[in-house]
Point group: C2
Chain length 478, copies 2
Amino acid sequence: MRFGIVFSVMGLLLRFLGPMMLVPLGVALYYGESPFPFAVAFSVTTIVGSALSFRYSSDDREWEKREGFAIVAFGWFAAALFGSIPYMFDGVTPLNALFESMSGFTTTGATVFVDIETHSKSLLFWRSMTQWLGGMGIIMLFIAILPKLGVAGRQMFRAEAPGPKEDQLRPRIQETAKILWTVYVSISVVELLLLLSAGMSFYDACTHTFTTMACGGFSPYADSVAAFDSPLIEGIITLFMFIAGANFALHYKTLYSDKKSLLKDNEFKFYFLIVGLATILLTLVLWRDTPDSIPTSFRYAIFQVISILTTTGYATTDFNLWTDSGKVVLLAMMFIGGCAGSTAGGIKVVRLLILLKYARNELFKAIHPKAVRPIKFNGKSVPNDIMHAIISFVVIYFLIFLISSAVLSIFGMDLTSSVTASIATLGNIGPGFNVVGPMANFSTVPAIGKIVLIANMWIGRLEVFTVIVMLTPEFWKR
Amino acid sequence: MRFGIVFSVMGLLLRFLGPMMLVPLGVALYYGESPFPFAVAFSVTTIVGSALSFRYSSDDREWEKREGFAIVAFGWFAAALFGSIPYMFDGVTPLNALFESMSGFTTTGATVFVDIETHSKSLLFWRSMTQWLGGMGIIMLFIAILPKLGVAGRQMFRAEAPGPKEDQLRPRIQETAKILWTVYVSISVVELLLLLSAGMSFYDACTHTFTTMACGGFSPYADSVAAFDSPLIEGIITLFMFIAGANFALHYKTLYSDKKSLLKDNEFKFYFLIVGLATILLTLVLWRDTPDSIPTSFRYAIFQVISILTTTGYATTDFNLWTDSGKVVLLAMMFIGGCAGSTAGGIKVVRLLILLKYARNELFKAIHPKAVRPIKFNGKSVPNDIMHAIISFVVIYFLIFLISSAVLSIFGMDLTSSVTASIATLGNIGPGFNVVGPMANFSTVPAIGKIVLIANMWIGRLEVFTVIVMLTPEFWKR
Ligand SMILES: [K+]
Ligand SMILES: [K+]
């Protein structure tokens, strides 16, 4: 491990993050709140970033895989750490500030705020904005960086990406980033305008656009999107959660070259199918189990299915009060997640789809052991190493989920809360059930539990491998 | 699919099962109960078996894989079906009778009996005895039949088995069966004698030996093993559950050739480690969360850990009343199960161990993509096809578990009960939590749920593939 390279890139990252803090500083000035927290955070972040850049030369930029992992993992952690500074000026303890900040940059949306509305508007703006920045980072990570690191099946759709080919990453990486960010920013602007025209204030429209596009789910209101009680606003947010949960490389292609790119994609089709079936099922269950009519049940069902499947985590109703029949539909969504190349977290639709095809294939092979039948995705055979990457991802994902659930339980949380808090953080969803339900918060989790959940968010957002390789001695060898 | 072969072997099976029913008939006569139910069951089973044998010649005995699967799956189902006849004479509905009988032959131990002690002693004897027969079947299946069918990693320890080599199954299959059954019967006799000398009645000693050795868990008492409240009896049963949950081929080797066979085996070592760690953890949790002392906590912990890990399902305390911290330890055990080649169900220790090694290997490969590092088990590399068989097993296992949990939830069961009822039947454990807890029963499950759970027991006991291949069109092709 050559730490020089890692620190050099982290310096770059912090020098980018620092100036971003001037935005909430402006918001603070506008609302007559103290700009001091953001001034401090801006200064500290920029100074540390510059110091790192000054101390570590960026001459030697040929990353090995290990350095790549370290940059991604430590980079995200550093963003969360420096991004937590403003919280601490608002009476938030350091652990809670780190939790909230990690929840922001990982686009998780789990909150330790007990009474959200008591915090300053500028802080809540920053909190939403960290998710938007995190979403930007994750698109970049997924489409430009991880394929280079060979992590967990991202190669699957590298061919789809407008950007880097294996042999020409360096010159193209900035170009790819620009293209994808243009798409991300453009769709964000469209959502912002639609929310404004639906009657939202500029502040609300900004914060909700930030957290929709990032599949983040933070809201400046304790009641989340239910605070507006507007079918129109819910409709707009539902549509943009669905878009944000799909592959941004495909959005680019759809917009600029082939209009049918999304419809041709196996993952998108399966994503659409899951949304459809789950919505129908949940509508029927809510209609049966609550006094609501079919249209009202449908309104809650489609919003909640898409919110949880895309790992956004907004709520228009306290689904913790539903019967277990309704909850189980959402629970299933929690274990799926959005599409690869989106801002959504979770296991991802493509992995589930390929695992199902794999299992189907093995059943066939049980009867015809000598027959050769490759697993196809988007018309191409899935190579063996990608198959292995997907499988080991799922194995390690579940292992972390189980260990995390067990630790939380052992330290006194009830089972449902432990299990859903674990998957809600590992899948970057946000709310779970019971004490971590959508109208509740994570403030009652014991300190050790919060540390576990912070780790979950970090591990889950970075596609598991990027962080978990640190547990191997090979990672640390010189 | 050539059904002639299938029916021919099923005829053989029923002609073996019929006379077994004369044993509970004898018990009925001894206790002055009506022998009529068993006389009818014996007659029907024997007549149907003979008719099948008469109608379908056994000349053409060269099974293809498909016929092998069909024989195992339908054979077990037929045993459960004909074995359910005596229950129906005791006022049990046909669905409940099939549930109880399937629970017996699959050594699950889940019961729909509301008030166990109201049933006749002969019926409860038969109920326990079906588990012992099921255990006998499962050892045979695992060590002699499944390797031939190439199912799910059983090849792993074929080398260990005293019996069949790939090219000489036919002549050796009977020999292998004899050897293993001798071991099974011998260990059973030792347990019987120990239980008698610990003060149990002959009836109790028989029924509990039957259900210990099969990792079955049926007890003629509603309070299960807690009914005796004897540390000595618990100790004996704990020891024999532990033995029954280990590989019988290794028991054979340990007894007749190499005394250290068990201690050299990677799976057994890991099994021992899991028991040790889980017992320590659970002891500490019980000591913290209940008024019990450390020794009492240990007594409950070791019994319950081994009972659930080996998928026996006996209870010496109502663990449904424990805090969630204690329950989560047992829940983890439910997802592991015993060793391959034992009478235990579940995913099995060997699969977990190899999956963990696999994940560890993939982490290594993430850093050194070109390095070749095979996965070792008992000193040998695990071949690719076995790796695939293990992975697809676990994928399909979890899929069935999730679908089953969802169906039960949708039909109105609470989430904890749905989830634990699913794993308790799929893993052939028996009791779960809440409404299906150890001191409760499955009588309140709605009919559709019972059908799902019957399927779970059947699928889980036959190592998933054997039953699930039936869902593929290839299975049914001529
Ligand atoms: K989220
Ligand atoms: K059992």
